[in-house]
């Protein structure tokens, strides 16, 4: 034994991990669950300091190659490391850590928990709220293989139970609480769930990653799940402090109400929602007079279309419920309810069911994003604005990451499904496709069921089977929801119709003699595109392969994007200085001609003869007075007007065009053109926004840095094909993560190191972007950053460093900007080498890139040469450019011969999509696909 003192224990606890030098040894101290552990600090795989790495799950991850060592045992648990690190005994004396520098004996096999040396999971999942959603999260986490700690905190003293029986059978005393329990006897122990009832959480400390209980106790978490539910919306009425108004949320409410009902003669229910209807139904089944009051002009106005709402009202009346619809309550008293018009409703029990308010106080206190109408905003995986915190059940407001729409659902199914989503996320399982929304309510001896999404304003078709059903249709006559009153076969058929999303004939749907299953068979042969190309359930952090490989998707991109509301770069004004100068160019894949006419205007029109579609302009560039199609000599002027049709009148009075032929109706298709400081753009769209609005203020600034109005001088072109989908190119320039990892050159010669000032800026719509960095002036790379960059090599120098010179000539904080102008233009400003890159897709798996490199007319010869020399960085033989081209080809290769996978673009979850302040981010790629999906309707 050889004990040596080191540093204060508090310092280790505060930092989590600290490197120390003791007795000539480099040792690592770790704080884990309040204990201090000591290990060697040099990785057994390659030279790296372990304490510069990341501690997770009881393991230290080497910063260099992500090898893993178990901190407690030193065991090498994750490749590429195979040899264990030494561990040392520690003890604390007077607050100082003492270390025995004699290493412990090697860890014995099986010291780590779990079979086969598998690493134990030290993560703690804490669930706040032990209702159905919370309890199901705990159970599903185990089902999906989560092996860490599960702590379930509930405020009520009862073990978790389901709420639907509270307003139904339990209220009537037909069932007991025990039968509503979520966990079977012994299940909590079997699942190893720590259930703490009667426990109220005071606040969440996100920094410290723990929750504080009302007693002051802290409960640390790695993942926190908020299942705090919702509370009944309270009503304030004259007299409400003199009489007991009943609300229903918890089992105690149900028990009290059950007792009161058994003694009541008349019940007044305020609120005509499902809870109100169920309570009125329960009262009627006890033979009690029931009155239902709804201030809106019909029942369930916020939830259902009019027809099923009216039908429900009819059912209620049939069951002798007195309905007061469209009437407000003035006051309440022990004798009952007084309506606004003075009518008195006698009741010895008044129940209020006017909705619920999400219990989001804890989330608000922790500054998590909440919705304006209450509730915690989550993504499609139920993750809140803090990636370590999830929300499930009634309190969660799911934001659609494409449309931005927010939606909160209170249902038994939603509690279960949201719990499952979170459990899968925490257990590292892929999300699954979600079931159709489903809801049920037991009313007046029958069961109402709803599948799909019934919007109150939807068109409705009623169909009478064993019981009536109401089908909701969208504008295209597709079934979106079904409200069914007891015919299970109609409900089943509705599920099929909703899933197929194929238009149906409303008359046939309504006709009880139509067999709905044949309707599906006959009319659903071809699924619409959005049903065949379904985005992964995980959301924007995945991009499915079909985005890059499908021909159908590619054709839709031409229609929706390149021929849609986009400005497409076609060339530089400097390429066509004089009248008649033309360039053969493209808009997306579509051939066009850019030509200057005698008025000095630049025109862009399709390079496709109006007669037989021949691509008539064949030269890459040139000067012409007119364009003549070589096939039949149809000629067009410089504006694209049809000027001459040979033998239009025929020969000898025979043949030729008919008398109705008007040449002015047969010019080539002309595009709308705009020019911004020498760059020319065209669009197929009508009434397109101005280019300035299209780019937006922030993007326009970067664009104008290069296109400032200084006259351009074209230096030449590169043209290359790339064996990949065209979108990989803008993605590559929205992927700052790759820059220091792929481009060894940048790092080796100090052009870009992780410490450089840099930014990845995305326009508000997610389509345009600028990747920017500022050249460091002799900056040294910190050891920490260096360790992360595999690419870094000391001591390599350029023989001719002029390549790296940067002559400041722009009013910009950045020395490099790579700007994507959606969809097909990249503006390159790599120090002093300037150029534009135009993307021309050739089908889903290949595109052509046309580069035009330029300087300015007022450059002197040395500046021109400098731009040419610096051009060695870019292009298909550029030190950086060739690597990008190769990497993108590899990506396409990886997809072409595999089946139906998806890309993972999950870096930086704190920024769902958009501008991020870190380069270790894929938020800009997610933003691009958010926009793409909106444009594509997918």
């Amino acid at each position: 034994m050889s004990w040596h003192s080191s540093i204060p224990a508090d310092e280790v606890h505060a930092k989590g991990s600290v490197g120390v030098e003791v007795d000539g040894l480099r040792l690592a101290l770790f704080s884990l669950d309040g204990e201090i552990h000591a290990t060697g600090n040099i990785c057994t795989h390659a030279f790296a300091i372990l304490t510069e790495g990341h501690v997770e799950n009881g393991c230290i991850e080497c910063p260099l190659h992500q090898g893993l060592f178990d901190i407690r045992t030193g065991r090498a648990v994750g490749p590429p490391v195979t040899r264990d690190i030494a561990t040392y005994d520690t003890r604390i004396e007077d607050g100082v850590v003492w270390i025995d520098t004699q290493p412990r004996a090697a860890a014995s096999a099986g010291a780590a928990k779990g079979a086969g040396g598998a690493v134990a999971d030290f993560r703690r999942m804490v669930i706040v709220g032990a209702g159905q959603a919370g309890a199901e999260t705990a159970r599903a986490a185990r089902t999906h293989g989560f092996a860490g700690k599960v702590i379930l905190l509930g405020e009520e003293e009862h073990p978790p139970y389901e709420r639907p029986p509270l307003s139904k059978d339990m209220l009537l005393g037909r069932t007991t609480l025990t039968s509503a329990h979520i966990f079977q006897p012994g299940e909590i122990e079997d699942l190893d769930i720590e259930l703490r009832l009667g426990t109220r959480v005071h606040c969440i400390d996100r920094e410290a990653r723990h929750v504080v209980l009302t007693g002051g106790e802290t409960v640390p978490y790695d993942m926190l799940v908020l299942a705090t539910g919702a509370a009944p919306r309270r009503i304030l009425l004259p007299g409400s402090d003199e009489v007991h108004l009943h609300y229903l949320r918890e089992v105690a409410d149900s028990q009290t109400l059950g007792e009161v009902l058994s003694r009541s003669r008349g019940v007044a229910v305020i609120g005509g929602g499902f809870i109100g209807l169920e309570l009125a139904s329960a009262a009627r089944s006890l033979g009690i007079e029931a009155t239902l009051i709804e201030v809106q002009d019909r029942l369930l106005k916020r939830l259902l279309p009019e027809e099923p709402g009216e039908f429900l009202a009819w059912v209620a009346r049939q069951n002798d419920v007195a309905l007061h619809i469209g009437e407000a309550v003035q006051s309440v008293s022990a004798g009952g309810v007084t309506m606004a018009d003075g009518t008195r409703i006698a009741a010895d029990c008044i129940i209020v069911g006017i909705g619920a308010v999400p219990s989001d106080q804890l989330a608000n206190g922790a500054a998590l994003e909440t919705a304006p109408g209450g509730g915690i905003v989550v993504n499609s995986r139920n993750q809140t604005s803090d990636p370590a915190i999830y929300a499930v059940g009634d309190v969660a407001v799911v934001r659609n990451e494409i449309s931005g729409q927010q939606r909160r659902v209170e249902s038994w199914q939603n509690a279960r499904l949201s719990a499952d989503r979170v459990a899968r996320a925490i257990a590292g399982q892929e999300p699954v496709e979600q079931e159709l929304p489903w809801f049920w309510s037991d009313l007046f001896g029958g069961t109402l069921q709803i599948v799909g999404d019934p919007r109150p304003d939807a068109r409705v078709v009623r169909r009478d089977g064993e019981a009536p059903a109401f089908f909701c249709l969208d504008e295209a006559n597709r079934v979106t929801a079904c409200i069914d009153f007891g015919d299970a076969s109609l409900l089943r058929a509705a599920r099929g119709l909703i899933a197929s999303a194929h238009p149906v004939d409303p008359a046939k749907l309504a006709d009880p003699s139509t067999d709905l299953s044949t309707l599906e068979d006959n009319e659903m042969k071809m699924l619409p595109i959005e049903k065949r190309y379904v985005w992964p359930a995980s959301g924007l952090d995945r991009v499915p392969d079909w985005v890059y490989t499908s021909n159908e998707i590619h054709e839709r991109e031409i229609e929706k994007i390149f021929h849609g509301r986009t400005w497409n770069y076609v060339g530089l004004a400097a390429e066509v200085p004089d009248a008649g100068d033309f360039v053969r160019s493209f808009v997306g894949p579509t051939p066009v001609v850019m030509v200057r006419d005698h008025d000095g205007e630049i025109n862009v029109f399709e390079n496709r003869c109006a007669h037989r579609a021949a691509e008539f302009c064949r030269e890459l560039r040139g000067n012409a007075e007119e364009f003549v199609c070589p096939y039949h000599q149809w000629s067009y002027d410089l504006k694209g007007n049809l000027a001459g049709v040979p033998f239009r009148r025929g020969v000898d009075g025979k043949g030729g065009m008919g008398p109705d032929f008007r040449p002015e109706n047969h010019g080539v298709k002309k595009l709308k053109v705009t020019e911004r400081n020498g760059a020319v753009f065209a669009t197929f769209a009508q009434n397109m926004d101005s280019f300035e609005d299209y780019l937006g203020e922030e993007m326009l600034k970067d664009f104008d840095t290069v296109f400032s109005g200084r006259k351009l001088r074209v230096l030449g072109h590169y043209r290359h094909t790339l064996m990949g989908n065209w979108k990989l190119y803008p993605e590559n320039l929205k992927d700052p993560y790759h820059a220091t990892l792929l481009h060894t050159f940048l790092v080796t010669f100090g052009l870009l190191v992780a410490g450089n000032k840099s930014a990845m800026i995305v326009d508000p719509k997610g389509r345009h972007s600028t990747m920017a960095s500022a050249k460091s002036e002799g900056a040294t790379v910190s050891a920490e950053n260096k360790a992360e960059m595999r690419a870094y090599r000391d001591g390599m120098v350029l023989s001719d460093p002029r390549l790296m010179d940067f002559y400041p000539e722009f009013d910009s904080p950045w020395s490099v900007t790579m700007q994507v102008v959606w969809p097909g233009l990249i503006v390159q400003r790599e120090m002093n080498t300037l150029g534009v890159r135009q993307i021309v897709p050739n089908g889903p798996n290949e595109f052509t890139m046309i580069w035009t490199m330029f300087g300015y007319e007022d450059d002197d010869e040395e500046m021109t040469r400098h731009r040419l020399r610096q051009g060695n960085l870019m292009g298909p033989a550029g030190f950086l450019g060739l690597e990008d081209n190769e990497a993108m080809k590899f990506v396409q290769d990886g997809m072409l011969n595999s089946t139906g996978g998806a890309h993972l673009v999950a870096l930086d979850p704190k920024v769902p999509a958009g501008t991020s302040d870190t380069l270790i981010s894929e938020a800009a790629i997610r933003a691009m696909y958010k926009h793409w999906r909106q444009e594509m309707g997918l």
Partner: protein, 177 residues
């Protein structure tokens, strides 16, 4: 320059038919060695074919015909040629491939008074990749060269301009031509 239709026109006293024939043979040997280094040798040896002040560029016929100076590769001086060799050999990531260079139709178009030889050839670059085992023509074009005789008698390139007709570069050009 000479014009084949109208026979031989000397540009200096030393520019004789015999001298051109000798020079052509010497250049063919030079180019064979040059190709061998690029195809099967060490890229770091490639700069040794150039003079200290050499100019080297690869450009498209589109640019050449339009008097546009941009090059896929653009090296002013031996330093930049060495830097390209270093960058490609030591830092660049690209997929494995076999490249084979062919230089034919060697022409000597004149010999200047100081012995500088003005020459040219046609060239082809064939690329084979594992996923493209049948290979493909990567570039076809011509070169315009200037060779300068060194004190030790060797010829070195003082200028090589490669002009490719193959308008589209397939994916990437990783090695020089």
């Amino acid at each position: 320059m000479n014009d084949l239709k109208h026979g031989f026109t000397a540009i200096s006293a030393r520019d004789t038919r015999e001298a051109r024939r000798d020079a052509r043979l010497e250049i063919e040997e030079f180019n064979a060695e040059y190709c061998a280094v690029l195809d099967d040798g060490d890229l770091m040896d490639w700069p040794a074919f150039f003079t200290e002040d050499a100019f080297y560029t690869i450009t498209s016929r589109e640019n050449w015909d339009g008097n546009l100076p941009v090059g896929l590769v653009y090296c002013e001086g031996l330093g930049m040629i060495k830097d390209r060799a270093l960058a490609i050999a030591k830092t660049s990531m690209f997929g494995p491939r076999y490249l084979r260079h062919y230089m034919t139709n060697t022409r000597v178009m004149g010999i200047e008074e100081d012995g500088t030889i003005l020459a040219g050839n046609n060239y082809m670059l064939v690329e084979v990749r594992a996923e493209l085992p049948e290979g493909r023509l990567h570039q076809a074009g011509r070169m315009i060269d200037k060779f300068r005789r060194q004190d030790d008698g060797r010829l070195l390139l003082s200028s090589r301009i490669a002009i490719y007709d193959t308008l589209l570069v397939p994916n990437a050009l990783v090695l020089p031509v």
